[in-house]
Symmetry: C2
Subunit: 444 residues, 2 copies
């Protein structure tokens, strides 16, 4: 037990009075063991609701502490939670903790959770809940209403699923339709037979795409015999869309796609080092370009001063094109076979930005010319020309690289920044030093 | 009229038979004028549904063409659409097109759309639909059921709003609760009085956060007197979350946050050039660092060859930390006042990756030493040490920069890559050239 400056029972009753999302915010500000103590003083239901709203890594560290403090409470709390939320938490525990808390539960609840745990965390099966309303197709409207009245599901769904005696999914029935039905009407006559369903193996990103494309609020999960296994709900999909979108930013620079700010140093090293090794290799290409001009640099060392300015500007302009193009790919805004006009537009934007930036650099070199000796305006001209060309190459590469990677069947985001920098660095150095070398006698 | 190789009536009937989301995919593959011709041959309702599912820039170019072809059809189609979808499209048109198509509509429909158009596109008012179920609190369950039966709203909502005679929002009523109510029960007795509502001015990102935090499926929009104006639905929020997440990637590199791959060259230049100018300024700091070592480079030009390798590696390692930290901020995973351990962990990861990368670079320099002369192993030691330090600085900066910007009240993503590169470039050059300068007599 920790020494506290907080009064646990007082805090627990304050948290209990909050909405579950706000309670979660409060608990997230505490350490795992403090959060566990507060949870342990709350009601089982409200503790479970608050835990379900917490960020997963923080929720699981509170749960681990709670299992140590009072395993009976932890088990009762997990039983009271929506099965998909309880499964998300159990998946974060190590094997021993998970088994010991499952052993404390009612066997039927534990078995239900074990079935959900069998599905991969990032699949439809791992996301679905097994709590849903369902009525049989051979019921009358009155019998279905009675079945819904008796149901223990405490959600407010906008429709109920329709199944047969073997549990096969046969359709959906909107509660609005049921509300206005005659009491004796057969469910099979008023239900909607056209219902999309997904298999439990479907990857969560594909699940999210289905929701986005068809504006579903829930999607039933069925097995190979079309038996209804569970339901994926739109609120879980929203979390995934946010998580997957931010994964792309990780991938661009070669951090592990699963890496979170909370990942251990070991996980971070494992995810990032391979790409840093690739980066070392690709940046050595730029070094080899510079090496070809070693003699020139010995003679005009100020070239080494300007090199990073041009390469950096081309790199940044290229990253702008890359970000905008990847955005277009993610938002599915790029028509098939219509990519070329977009790439040419990016190259033109790079050309103009390069001329404008080159003008600024050229003028600055002229003005502070005394530093560079008398021929400074000539150096300004070379830098301005090189920057113009380098930015056009940068934006052309930034927009065509992800489209090319997609065309070749690779993920367009992965390591895109690394490959882009390889091109912008080496081409910037080549254009700038090459031009300086060609105009050597005019420059020196 | 264009010359076609496609048979418009045949294609129109094929598209008509598709689900609206799939129909939209087909239409998106056509030019705006071809899509307009196909839409014009479809039924008004299905044309509107397909148009609503299309990506906005493509949908609006098809609509512009359709207004030119057959303005009566365009008006009827917009009338048949959900008001929020029609408003999204009208907002994309220029003033003349918008007014001429509104003039073709039924006056009451046109006025409803004009009211929605008054709200800012990126606010709750601009996102809401004005089609929703509502019953009065003084109705009985039977009267409410009858009102719902007669309602023209063709959605399947899971609850109805409850209002008073003046249209003030008084609560919500789940259809499930209504289904199991006694016929004579008063709505005011069975409705849920605790209902969250948002003002029409609320920014769309804040709207999305409300949905995410509280897992709402719909949120009512009310005026200052708490009169019900409309409803924001979760499916519109999903689009915004995807769009806002990708906006961050734009912002990081200084592209306009609104910039899409389809933006005009003029818009792209306007959004990007200011940040490229900032980048020019920040990268000149790195140039000034190099300038201090001009004499050293004249003597040992191979330093200029290795400079970009070290700066590039530190920049990439820093961008990895930046991406992961921004991800933690967006997903709200970073506890207040608990940032320091995360930053130190990042710095440690940078230190280790720097040592590993430095070892590789050092060994390569020794092996290909003949290129660099006899003292190559000494140069390898200097490069390895500099890389270790530069990567630790890079990851420390990459993780602390966005947290510092957030603390100071700035957007943590904006131009973060530019400021990070300023630090990684100038510090890499300073550490590497400074070390080489200090060990000059040992090196040369």
């Amino acid at each position: 037990m920790l020494e506290h400056t907080i009064d646990v029972p007082v805090l627990a009753s304050a948290v209990e009075a909050q909405d579950s999302a706000d309670a979660a915010d409060t608990l997230e500000a505490l350490s795992g063991s403090d959060a566990a103590e507060v949870l342990g003083k709350m009601g089982v239901d409200s503790a479970g609701e608050a835990l379900a709203e917490m960020v997963l890594p923080l929720a699981s560290s509170a749960l681990v502490a709670l299992i140590g403090d009072d395993i009976g409470f932890a088990a009762a709390m997990l039983e009271s939670m929506a099965p998909d939320d309880a499964t998300d938490l159990l998946q974060e525990l190590d094997h021993a903790d998970r088994e010991s808390v499952l052993a404390e539960m009612h066997p039927s609840a534990a078995n239900g959770l074990r079935r959900l745990l069998d599905h991969h965390e990032e699949s439809a099966g791992g996301m679905m809940t097994t709590e849903f309303l369902a009525v049989r197709e051979d019921m009358t409207a009155d019998e279905a209403t009675e079945a819904i009245r008796r149901s223990a599901v405490d959600d407010d769904p906008h429709f109920t699923f329709v199944i047969d005696w073997e549990g096969h999914l046969r359709g959906t029935l909107s509660l609005r339709r049921l509300l206005i039905a005659d009491p004796g009407e057969l469910i099979s006559h008023i239900c909607n037979r056209e219902v999309e369903a997904i298999p439990p193996e479907l990857d969560r990103e594909a699940v999210a795409r289905e929701f986005e494309k068809y504006d579903f609020l829930v999607l039933p999960v069925v097995d190979a015999e079309h038996r209804l296994l569970g339901v994926v709900e739109v609120d879980d999909v929203i979390e995934i869309i946010r998580a997957e979108s931010t994964e792309d930013a990780n991938r661009m620079v070669g951090a592990g796609k699963e890496e979170a700010v909370y990942s251990t140093a070991r996980e971070k090293l494992k995810g990032r080092f391979p790409w840093l090794l690739v980066n070392l290799f690709t940046s050595s290409i730029a070094a080899i370009v510079v090496l070809q001009f070693e003699g020139l640099i010995t003679e005009i060392a100020v070239l080494a001063v300007l090199m990073p300015v041009i390469a950096n500007q081309a790199g940044n302009a290229g990253q702008q094109s890359l970000a905008v193009t990847l955005r277009g790919i993610v938002l599915e805004q790029i028509r098939p076979n219509r990519a070329m006009p977009l790439i040419l537009r990016e190259a033109m934007v790079g050309l103009i930005n390069g001329m404008l930036g080159g003008l600024v650099v050229g003028l600055v070199i002229c003005v502070v010319g005394s530093v560079f000796g008398d021929a400074s305006w000539r150096l300004g001209v070379v830098a301005a020309l090189a920057m113009t060309a380098a930015l056009a190459i940068g934006t052309f590469t930034g927009s065509s690289l992800p489209l090319l990677m997609r065309r070749l069947g690779f993920d367009p985001a992965t390591a895109s920044t690394i490959f882009l920098t390889m091109v912008t660095d080496s081409m910037s150095f080549f254009v700038f030093l090459g031009l300086a070398s060609a105009l050597h006698s005019w420059l020196a």
